[in-house]
Symmetry: C2
Subunit: 367 residues, 2 copies
């Protein structure tokens, strides 16, 4: 006897970008208060200190919300901390109608999104990204996750937030290194899909961009263009079966650099690791996807002076390869990359051998 | 600036019931081998010993699968064990194309379903329920979960399996207490939706039913009717916004009894707790939803001699109330029940006061 069962989950959620984002959020929250739902805010130590006061100042109705806080740092995106938060939600009697607002960078939105996705099989969650990388990348697209055994996002879910509110005002709280890290993801978005955006972005060296005040129209353009690219890709392939893998350019090697740094407790910023990853994967692209060497040179010229260099092979080439084999994009231990056939043209599912990878790391090391 | 994002997840999966279920599974697995996907089997100590040999005997192509095993018992449905399994999947290089087969009762399918739903943001999973309660209830409907702080399924996901294969042959491995526990869920399915099924089921006393060999058509009928009721309800409301709450009849008080037993490490079987819960909630139904006292008497006559009685209030009435307040069906600490307005007629969202609940527990205690 055969029956057929069916599960359908459809959700459409708003992504609001710009000065007015918090006003839109306020309207939305009034609906939650009207339903007598409990609202909780997740922060890390930094956003509790630097962003929460500003948020409460602008949205006084959040004064009544319960604030949960965790230490800052990617290494806190762990199952242990998720368990702590599930217990906290329980002891605050959070129920299925409760709302968890994640106020922070990618660590907070990944962690809070995961916690919300599995508490009582899923409660509402809103992302309020406070870092550049969070605003253009981490908080967009419905991925959540925590690290296990120092492997990035080994455990997580696809979970749609109730909404994402991108308020550029939070960016002034960032140290310059965080802004630089975010610009690596901006560059990635351009490199995989939008050559014209790349040309526009790289008219100025990265160090000059870091001097531009956040009130300048330049940043609004950066946010809008980057978010549009990410959403466009995610909409076509929410569960990363094919096209979404484009977003992984620079990340296979970048994640290995990050995981290695988690292991050694000398933390590397995500964007800095991705910048190095993009150059290494640029070298792979020369042979695998016929990237024009002149275009690779152009990438190196803009990326290298801005992000600096990691000593890769001389430190531990074998450890990187081992870490890459744990990457979620792999099939059957074969290592697959997203590479470039040109600036603005990403190519997914490029299988590379350990020898080819070693060669690319080595080419990067001799830059 | 406002964008709209969308996530859609649609899946339809087969539920195969009967002697031929394993042959269908075999066909399905050939597809996985063809894709060179890794297959892993999750068992507990009991199913490893009593069910796995039979499965390998009938499906020799599973000899190559990796077997992961955990201790038996509801208290093993924990985050700690989930983490152990995520690490095991990692060390076996399981990737997104891997398949996890859950061979066991509700503990194994809940736990394995949760682990699969969050490993690399979701891998394929197949349920092979081996207990009566698993075959008619736990493995059907896409709920996964683990317990936290001795609270049942505090953390979990809605996650569609790739398929569910209900092979009655596994039932002969069960101790009689497990079959009895499953019959509580059979009775519940009848009570909430199908009076005729209730009449058919209760023609014989429960103790006589336990003597019927599993090869008799009686059991096929039990499986088909119970599974049909569950699937019918789940299809209409996969995420338990309304109609699916029907399935919680007997469970608000039943879960409290179970959670209390987890705390004290004197384990009570799920169905036995639900049987007591159905009677207590039957008493609540007299006042709240005008259940006919004669129908309640009829329920008591069939349920009580079969499932026995727990001393509730005399043990710790306050602890039960406290545990019910953690139930996932609640809103704002108000305790909501699914009650009966008649046999075969469940009514969701019935808020009861602590006083009413105390009275119902007390009425049960004096039976």
């Amino acid at each position: 006897m055969k029956f057929s069962a069916r599960t359908v989950r459809t959700s459409r959620y708003p992504v609001l970008i710009g000065e007015g984002a918090l006003e839109h959020l306020q309207k939305e929250l009034k609906g939650f208060w009207k339903m007598k739902s409990q609202i909780l805010i997740l922060t890390d130590a930094n956003t509790r200190r630097f962003c929460l006061p500003e948020l409460l100042n602008r949205l006084p109705l959040l004064e009544e919300a319960t604030v949960l806080s965790v230490d800052a740092g990617e290494e806190k995106k762990s199952l242990l901390i998720a368990e702590y938060l599930w217990k906290e939600l329980g002891s605050h009697h959070a129920d299925r109608a409760s709302l968890l607002i994640n106020l922070g960078g990618g660590m907070v939105t990944d962690l809070g999104g995961f916690v919300a996705s599995a508490y009582h099989r899923g409660i509402s969650t809103i992302h309020l990204p406070t870092t550049l990388i969070g605003q253009i990348d981490a908080a967009i697209g419905g991925k959540t996750g925590v690290n296990i055994n120092s492997l990035k996002n080994q455990v997580g879910t696809f979970y749609s937030p109730h909404g994402v509110y991108v308020w550029p005002g939070f960016l002034i709280t960032l140290p310059m290194a965080q802004v630089r890290s975010g610009l690596a993801e901006v560059a990635k978005a351009a490199l995989i899909q939008d050559e014209q955006f790349w040309r526009w972005l790289t008219r100025k060296p990265l160090l000059q961009i870091l001097e531009i005040p956040f009130t300048e129209p330049f940043w609004k353009e950066v946010l809008l263009r980057s978010i549009r690219i990410k959403m466009d890709i995610v909409k076509q392939d929410p569960f990363e079966r094919n096209r979404r893998k484009l977003l992984n350019f620079g990340h296979t090697i970048g994640h290995a650099i990050e995981s290695f740094s988690l292991r050694r407790e000398t933390l590397v910023l995500h964007g800095d690791a991705v910048a190095a990853g993009m150059l290494c994967e640029g070298f792979l692209s020369l042979h695998k996807t016929a990237l024009d060497p002149l275009q690779l040179e152009e990438m190196i010229r803009w990326i290298l002076p801005g992000f600096g260099k990691f000593p890769l092979l001389e430190e531990n080439g074998a450890a990187y390869l081992d870490l890459m084999q744990h990457d979620k994009k792999n099939r059957q231990q074969e290592i697959r990359f997203t590479l470039l056939s040109g600036i603005g043209k990403g190519k997914i599912n490029q299988a590379c051998t350990p020898g080819q990878i070693h060669e690319a790391l080595s080419a990067y090391d001799t830059l």
